[in-house]
């Protein structure tokens, strides 16, 4: 996989950091790549906002921080306002569509929204919003494959939550696949 800079951001309690960890594990333990995750600490991280940065590469990662984000997973309006301006002009924006109201599309940015919180509640636990978003990343971008992601989830959450998190991942994945397929049908993007 080529060098990809990813920002995951939302508010505390949405499982932002865990999303980063599962993504990093998927790439660096259950796939053949390298992944470095960093997160914001300090007073700003104690309050509402929470951000994880994941750098992915097929070679060793030297510079550990995100420079120009290629992909953003945004789960709050505040995170959107803060990070969207830095998104690469041909990047990809994935957002929780009931929590984030994005501005008009700019440049060649591909934007995909998902009602992840509602889906999570339908699955019986709003906590799994983050794995829905991760599945959504997989379904829309193809950056991670479902099987290694499922393995990474199993290695990261308590035993009795694995199944629920797998369901959540699948939900996001299918929804993402569906959106992309719809676009392809509509001729907006090619293969």
């Amino acid at each position: 996989m080529s060098h990809t800079d990813i920002v995951i951001s939302g508010f505390g309690g949405q499982g932002v950091i865990l999303t980063g960890i599962v993504l990093g594990k998927t790439i660096s333990i259950y796939s053949d790549g390298y992944a470095t995750m960093t997160q914001n600490f300090g007073p700003e991280a104690r309050g509402g906002a929470c951000t994880a940065q994941v750098v992915i590469d097929n070679d060793k990662i030297r510079y550990p921080y995100v420079q120009v984000p290629d992909i953003m997973i945004i789960m709050s309006q505040e995170a959107y306002e803060k990070h969207e301006p830095s998104l690469s002009p041909d990047g990809m924006l994935l957002f929780e569509e009931e929590l984030v109201e994005p501005g008009p599309a700019r440049d060649k940015i591909r934007m995909y929204g998902i009602p992840a919180t509602r889906f999570a509640e339908e699955l019986g636990n709003p906590m799994v919003l983050n794995m829905i978003m991760l599945g959504f990343l997989s379904g829309t971008s193809g950056l991670i494959e479902p099987i290694p992601a499922r393995n990474a989830i199993a290695a990261s959450v308590p035993g009795h939550f694995i199944e629920l998190n797998h369901l959540a991942f699948n939900k996001g994945y299918q929804y993402g696949k569906g959106l992309v397929a719809g676009e392809m049908l509509a001729g907006k993007i090619s293969g």
Partner: protein
């Protein structure tokens, strides 16, 4: 060398940050006594040790401050267990006096410093490499110790084990000079089987108590230890002392006592120092770096190489003692040294001293709070190549 006790070794492939990896390094190295005081950005090391130690037969204690933490670590090591503490800038300042006691009494122990921006409270949550000279000179008096600088979570694991080995071999406090970026960065960390981890055990004397002198050095200038409670009834002190360990405060004993403490490290530098070299054979310019800076320097070196600039990289895994001999050799063959540091120029002073004016020395400084952009280092290489 002995193999690690499997009880403490969490064999497998993990996704850990540097702080957690360092804690696992300690567990694998057989560290079974930890005394510490929480301080950002090193706290996660203490937290993981607190979680792990009751499961592997270790004793963790949160002390009342850093003064107490390092003192307890020295006591714990004399008690016969591999001992460690962890801190960051302000706490490191508080530990200085007893790091000196550790040097003077020759106590094997490990101190991890996850560096943050300073001076004073500075930047608690952001990286710096600003305690490098404090590591070398922060305690009073003349002394030598060993300081390593990891540049990934994997190395936080590996070099913590290495630090315990070095501390036992040379009877000296060993500092693991991490930084916030490495400490809080999460990556793949492979923890091998216990059988693949080699450990240096403490050298206890085989002499009987009547023949034993606690500070009589062996051939490598390191004296053997005696275990407490076995009839040796030895005395040890932070005062200048003779081979009996008794205070002897005069110029002759001072020369002998301090002289040996310095020689013990200096004369064994070749055995202690570990560096990584890349493209040095034909290099006109050498980027000398350590810790996170050594990592972000690589893209800069590679970019310059692609453009035909003959630049090499010398990465200091061991920062103290400084690889003086190697720098002196290189200085005769290269045009310039470039050193990126997240400070306003610390280790570069030593580099400049050893270059002795025979090669230009350039500092790429950074006040702290972030790491160097590789472009900045690349620009410095280009500038030096002109």
């Amino acid at each position: 060398m002995v193999q690690a006790d499997p009880v403490g070794v969490l064999t497998g492939t993990h996704y850990l940050d540097g702080d957690h990896a360092a804690a696992e390094g300690a567990c694998s190295a057989g560290c079974r006594f930890f005394a510490g005081y929480p301080i950002t950005p090193s706290t996660e090391v203490a937290e993981r040790v607190a979680l792990r130690f009751p499961l592997i037969g270790g004793t963790f204690i949160q002390m009342e401050d850093e003064l107490a933490s390092i003192a307890a670590v020295l006591g714990g090591s004399w008690g016969g267990l591999k001992s460690m503490t962890v801190t960051s800038g302000p706490g490191f300042s508080l530990m200085m006096e007893n790091i000196g006691l550790g040097v003077m009494m020759e106590v094997p122990c490990v101190v991890i410093n996850v560096q943050r921006g300073g001076p004073s409270t500075g930047l608690p949550t952001l990286p710096a490499q600003a305690d490098m000279m404090q590591a070398r000179w922060g305690s009073h008096g003349d002394y030598e110790l060993i300081a390593l600088s990891p540049n990934s979570p994997q190395e936080c694991f590996d070099l913590t084990i290495e630090s315990f080995n070095l501390s036992e071999q040379w009877r000296v406090p060993v500092l693991v000079m991490m930084d916030e970026c490495i400490g809080h960065m999460t990556e793949r960390v492979v923890i091998p089987e216990a059988g693949e981890i080699e450990l240096v055990e403490r050298r206890y004397t085989n002499l009987n108590p009547d023949d034993y002198l606690p500070y009589k050095p062996c051939e490598d200038l390191v004296p053997e230890m005696a275990p407490i409670g076995y009839g040796y009834r030895f005395h040890t002190t932070g005062l200048t002392h003779d081979e009996r360990g008794y205070p002897s405060m005069n110029a002759e004993t001072q020369q002998r006592c301090v002289g040996r403490l310095l020689d013990k490290i200096n004369l064994n530098r070749d055995e202690i120092i570990h560096v990584d070299k890349h493209y040095l054979d034909d290099a006109d310019i050498v980027v000398v770096s350590y810790g996170i800076s050594s990592r972000v320097a690589i893209p800069a070196v590679e970019k310059a190489r692609r453009e035909g600039i003959k630049v090499g990289e010398l990465r200091l895994v061991t920062v103290w003692p400084f690889p003086e001999k190697l720098i002196r050799e290189l200085a005769g063959n290269v045009k310039a040294f470039i050193m990126p540091e997240i400070n306003h120029g610390q280790v570069v002073l030593e580099l400049e001293r050893c270059a002795g004016g025979r090669a230009e020395t350039r500092l790429v400084k950074h006040a702290g709070g972030w790491v160097h952009d590789p472009e900045t280092i690349y620009e410095a290489i280009r500038e030096a190549a002109k």
